[in-house]
Amino acid sequence: MPVTTKAPLLEVHELRVEYPRAGFRRGSFVAIDSMSVRVPAGTTLGVVGESGSGKSTLGRAILGLAPITHGGVIFDGREITHADARTRRALSADLQVVFQDPYSSLNPAMTIEAILAEPLVAAGTSRAAARARLTELLDIVGLPADSLARLPREFSGGQRQRIAIARAMAREPKLVVCDEAVSALDLSTQARVLDLLLDIQAQTGVAYLFITHDLDVVRHVSDEVVVVNRGAIVERGPAAQVVTNPTDPYTRRLVEASPIADPVAQRARRAARHPT
C-alpha cells in the first residue's frame, strides 16, 4: 500500500444501506452494514464478492444511487453522504461510473455523439469545445472517428463498453466506479478493455473502485482488495496477498472454487480438494 500522509481520495466510513421492504410496516432490508474503505488517488481498490454480497450496493451508495442510513462518504475532502442534486451535478466532473451491461447503459435512441456530449453540455461546455473533446475521447478509447453519428445498436458489446468508458472519462474524473465493467465481455475483449483501463489510469492518474465477482480480474487490476460477503467486508489487503494467500475462510473458499485455465494445475487443485 502506498504510504500517504494526506487524506485518501475516497473515504467510506461505517456505511450502512437499507432498502425499505415493499408493503406497510415491513421494516427494511440491510444490503450492506458498517463497510469502511479507502481509495488513495490514482490507485485501484478491488471489491470482490458473489451475487447478493452487497458489492454493487457499495458502488451505488457512493454514486448516490442507494439510500445510505448510517455512516459517511468523504470524496476529495467533501462530505457527500447525502449530497443533493446540485452537489451531485458538481461532483459528476470528478466521480463517474462504468456499468456492467453495455446494452442497457447506453440509451438506444441516442447517437454516440449525443451520449458522449450529454455530460459535457450539462457542465456548460461550449458546443465547439465539446465536439473537439469527443474526437479526442474516441481516439483514447480506440473507436473510429465516424462513430459519432451512429446508434449504440451498431456496435458490439466490447465497443459499447468503450463508449461507456469514453462517457465516464469525458470530464477527466478523479474516481471511476467500475461495476462489473468487464464481466459481460468475451475473454479477448475483456483483456483489451482491461488494458485500456490500465492505460488511461497510467496517463491520467484516475482512481478506480473496481467491483467484480472475478478473482482473476480483481487480482489483475487492483492495488488493494476487499472481499465482501453478506453485506460485510470479510478480508482486506494487497491484491496479491488476498488472492494467493487468503486468511479468511470465505475468501479461501472463493479462491479455491475459482477454476484456473491450466488443466494440470486445476486438476491438482481438485485432487487436493477431494483426497479420495
Partner: protein, 596 residues
C-alpha cells in the same frame, strides 16, 4: 448467446415512421382521418348551405341536386350539418384527449420517477376515478355547468386520465431501471432533463396509441350525450343529427344512415390507427411458413452437397457423432447467414467434450442443432448426426422427441427461466418422468425424490414442494440436472451450465456433473466460454471461431501446445499468467477493430 447472430440487422433507416408508412392499416386509417379533419376544417367552404338555416320546403326533403343528402326534420341541409358536425365531434375528442393527457401523463411521470408517497396517493386517486360510473358523473357535470359540450368533455377527459396515468407510470418505472438513466444521474443531468431526454421519448409512443383509441371513445360518448338531448340542440353535431333522424325514422329512414356512418367510420379509423401503430412499434418479425423453411432447407442441402466433402474422423465406438454440420439463418432480405460452417466431432461414453468459443462463435447453435431445438427460421444441414446406431437426421419430430426425452438429455444455461414458476418442483419432475415412463403418480414422486437425492439436494421433500422462486439458482440447476438424468440418457449436452452461477456454486455443480458422468458412464458435452470450466472437467476440447472448429484436441495437449493462432490468442487472454497491473495484449489497446 449466439442466438443474437441470427437476428436481422436493423439499419438506422429502418425507422418507426418508415415502418408505419409501410403498414396498410396505419396508412388507410390515417388517410380516412385526414379526410374527416379536412372536412371539418373546410366545412365553411365545402358546405352548400348554412347548417342552421331552416327552410320549410326542405323538411325531410329527399336527396336532390341542391341538397345531395336531403333535408332534416327542421328543413336544414343534411350534408352541411354533417360537415359542420365533424367539427363538434373532432373538437370533443380533442378536448377529452388533451385533458386526459394533461392530467394523466405528468402525474404518471412524477409517480413513476419519484415513487414514494406521491405515487401512492396518485394511485388511489386513479383507482377512485376508475370506480366512478362515467355516465352519472357526466350528467352531474352537465347539470352543474350547463349543456355546452366543452365542460362535459373535460370531465370525460378526467375520467379517461387514469388509463394514461397507469400507462405512463408503468413505462417510466421500467425505463427508470435502465442503467443509462443511472448513468445520466451520475453524470449530473437534472431530473427534469432526464425525464425529457431519456424517458419521455420512450413514453410518447404508447401514449399516442392510447390517445388514438381514447379519442374514439370520447367521440362516441359525445354523440351519445347529444343523442340523449344533452348538449346544444342548435349547434350541428352527429349525435344531435341521429337524435333528429330517429324521431322521423318512419318518414325518412335514410337520415339515420349519414351521421351513423360518419361516427362509425371516424371511430373505426381511430381504433385501427391505434392498433396499427401498436403493431408497428411492437413489431414481431414474421415467422416463416414451414413451406418456405423446407424450400430453404432443400436449397441449402443442395448447396452443401455440391461443396467438397470434409473427411470426418470418427471412432467406431463413439456415442454421438456429428459430421459436417451447417446451420443457416435466412435474413429478411433473402440472403442467408451461416452461423455453423461444417462442424464435425464425436463424443464417446464416459468422455467429456468441451466446446469453447466466444459469443457468436456458433457453439450454442451447434449444441441446439444436435438436439434438434433450432428455431423454425433456422436451416440445419448435416452430413450425419448419429446417436450410436440411430441416424437422428432421418427421424421425424415425434421419434426425435422420444429420443430427446430418453437418450439425449439437455441442461440449459439459465436454470430459473427453464422452470415454470406456476408449478412446484415436484409437479414438474413428476410430469417429466411420467411423460416417458408408465408410472403411477406415487411411483413417479418416489422416483423424483430419489433423483433429487442423487443430485445431492439436502432436503428432497422440501424441494419437491417448493416453487422455483423459493429455491436458489444452484439448486434450480441441480433440479434440471436431475430431470435430465431421469431417463438414464446416453448423452448429456450442457449449454453454459454454470455461467449464471456464483463460483462456489459452479464448483459444486461441476463436481456433480463429473460424478454423474462417471457413475452413469455418460457422454458429456459442455458448451462454455470459460477456460477454467474446460480445465476442470473436460477430457477433450473443440475450439470454435466464426462457426468453424479450429482445433479439437486433448485438454492437456491443447493447453500445453495450442496449434491454431486463435487458440493461442484465446489462452493468451486469460489473466492467470500475467503479472498484475501490466498489459495483457501486445501492441496498442486502442484498436477495437478485432472486436467488431
Amino acid at each position: 448467446m449466439t442466438g443474437s447472430t441470427a437476428a436481422p440487422v436493423r439499419t438506422p433507416s429502418d425507422h418507426v415512421v418508415r415502418r408505419a408508412l409501410r403498414n396498410p392499416t396505419v396508412v388507410v386509417s390515417g388517410l380516412v382521418l385526414l379526410l374527416v379533419v379536412a372536412a371539418a376544417v373546410l366545412a365553411p367552404l365545402l358546405a352548400p348551405h348554412s347548417p342552421t338555416e331552416a327552410v320549410l320546403d326542405d323538411v325531410l326533403a329527399p336527396p336532390s341536386a341542391d341538397h345531395p343528402l336531403g333535408g332534416d326534420s327542421a328543413g336544414r341541409d343534411v350534408l352541411s350539418r354533417l360537415l359542420w358536425g365533424a367539427r363538434t365531434s373532432l373538437l370533443a375528442g380533442l378536448i377529452a384527449i388533451v385533458t386526459a393527457v394533461v392530467v394523466g401523463v405528468p402525474a404518471g411521470l412524477v409517480a413513476g420517477y419519484r415513487s414514494g408517497r406521491f405515487d401512492a396517493v396518485a394511485g388511489w386517486v386513479a383507482s377512485v376515478l376508475l370506480a366512478v360510473p362515467g355516465i352519472v358523473a357526466l350528467l352531474v357535470v352537465v347539470s352543474a355547468f350547463g349543456t355546452a359540450m366543452p365542460p362535459s368533455m373535460i370531465a370525460l377527459g378526467v375520467l379517461l386520465s387514469p388509463a394514461f396515468f397507469r400507462l405512463t407510470r408503468s413505462t417510466v418505472v421500467n425505463v427508470r431501471a435502465e442503467l443509462y438513466v443511472d448513468a445520466a444521474r451520475v453524470a449530473g443531468i437534472s431530473p427534469v432533463s432526464i425525464v425529457f431526454r431519456h424517458i419521455l421519448s420512450v413514453v410518447a409512443t404508447p401514449i399516442i396509441i392510447q390517445a388514438s383509441l381514447s379519442a374514439g371513445v370520447a367521440i362516441i360518448v359525445q354523440a351519445g350525450l347529444a343523442f340523449l338531448g344533452i348538449g346544444d340542440s342548435l349547434a350541428p353535431s352527429w349525435g344531435a343529427m341521429v337524435n333528429d333522424a330517429y324521431r322521423s325514422n318512419i318518414e325518412a329512414p335514410l337520415l339515420t344512415l349519414w351521421p351513423g356512418l360518419a361516427i362509425g367510420i371516424t371511430v373505426a379509423a381511430l381504433a385501427l390507427l391505434g392498433s396499427g401503430l401498436s403493431d408497428v412499434v411492437n413489431r414481431t418479425d414474421a415467422v416463416q411458413s414451414p413451406r418456405r423453411s423446407r424450400r430453404l432447407a432443400a436449397e441449402a442441402a443442395a448447396e452443401v452437397a455440391a461443396a467438397p466433402k470434409v473427411e470426418a474422423r470418427t471412432s467406431d465406438e463413439a456415442t454421438l457423432v456429428v459430421e459436417d454440420l451447417h446451420v443457416q439463418y435466412s435474413r429478411q432480405d433473402g440472403t442467408r447467414a451461416e452461423v455453423v460452417k461444417g462442424v464435425s466431432f464425436h463424443v464417446d461414453r464416459g468422455e467429456c467434450l468441451g466446446i469453447v468459443g466466444e459469443s457468436g462463435s456458433g457453439k450454442s447453435q451447434t449444441a441446439f442443432s444436435v438436439l434438434g431445438l433450432l428455431p423454425p427460421e433456422a436451416v440445419r444441414v448435416a452430413g450425419a448426426i448419429r446417436l450410436r446406431e440411430l441416424d437422428l437426421l432421418s427421424l421425424g419430430e415425434r421419434s426425435l422427441n422420444h429420443i430427446r426425452s430418453s437418450r439425449l438429455a439437455y441442461v440449459p444455461q439459465d436454470p430459473m427461466s427453464n422452470l415454470d414458476p406456476a408449478y412446484t418442483i415436484g409437479a414438474q419432475m413428476v410430469e417429466t418422468i411420467r411423460a416417458h415412463e408408465r408410472l403411477s403418480r406415487r411411483a413417479a414422486t418416489q422416483r423424483a425424490r430419489a433423483l433429487l437425492e442423487r443430485v445431492l439436494i439436502v432436503d428432497p421433500d422440501k424441494a419437491l414442494g417448493s416453487y422455483p422462486h423459493e429455491i436458489s439458482g444452484g439448486m434450480a440447476q441441480r433440479v434440471l440436472i436431475a430431470m435430465a438424468i431421469s431417463c438414464s440418457p446416453d448423452v448429456l449436452i450442457a449449454d453454459e451450465p454454470t455461467t449464471a452461477l456464483d463460483v462456489t456454486v459452479q464448483q459444486e455443480v461441476l463436481d456433480l456433473l463429473r460424478e454423474l458422468q462417471r457413475d452413469l458412464d455418460l457422454a458429456l458435452v459442455i458448451v462454455t466460454h470459460n477456460l477454467g470450466v474446460v480445465a476442470d472437467i473436460c477430457d477433450r476440447v473443440a475450439v470454435m471461431k466464426d462457426g468453424r472448429l479450429v482445433e479439437t484436441r486433448d485438454v492437456f495437449d491443447l493447453s500445453a501446445a495450442p496449434q491454431h493462432p486463435y487458440t493461442r490468442e484465446l489462452l493468451g487472454s486469460t489473466l492467470s499468467n500475467v503479472a498484475p497491473r501490466t498489459r495483457i495484449g501486445q501492441g496498442s489497446p486502442s484498436t477495437a477493430t478485432t472486436e467488431a
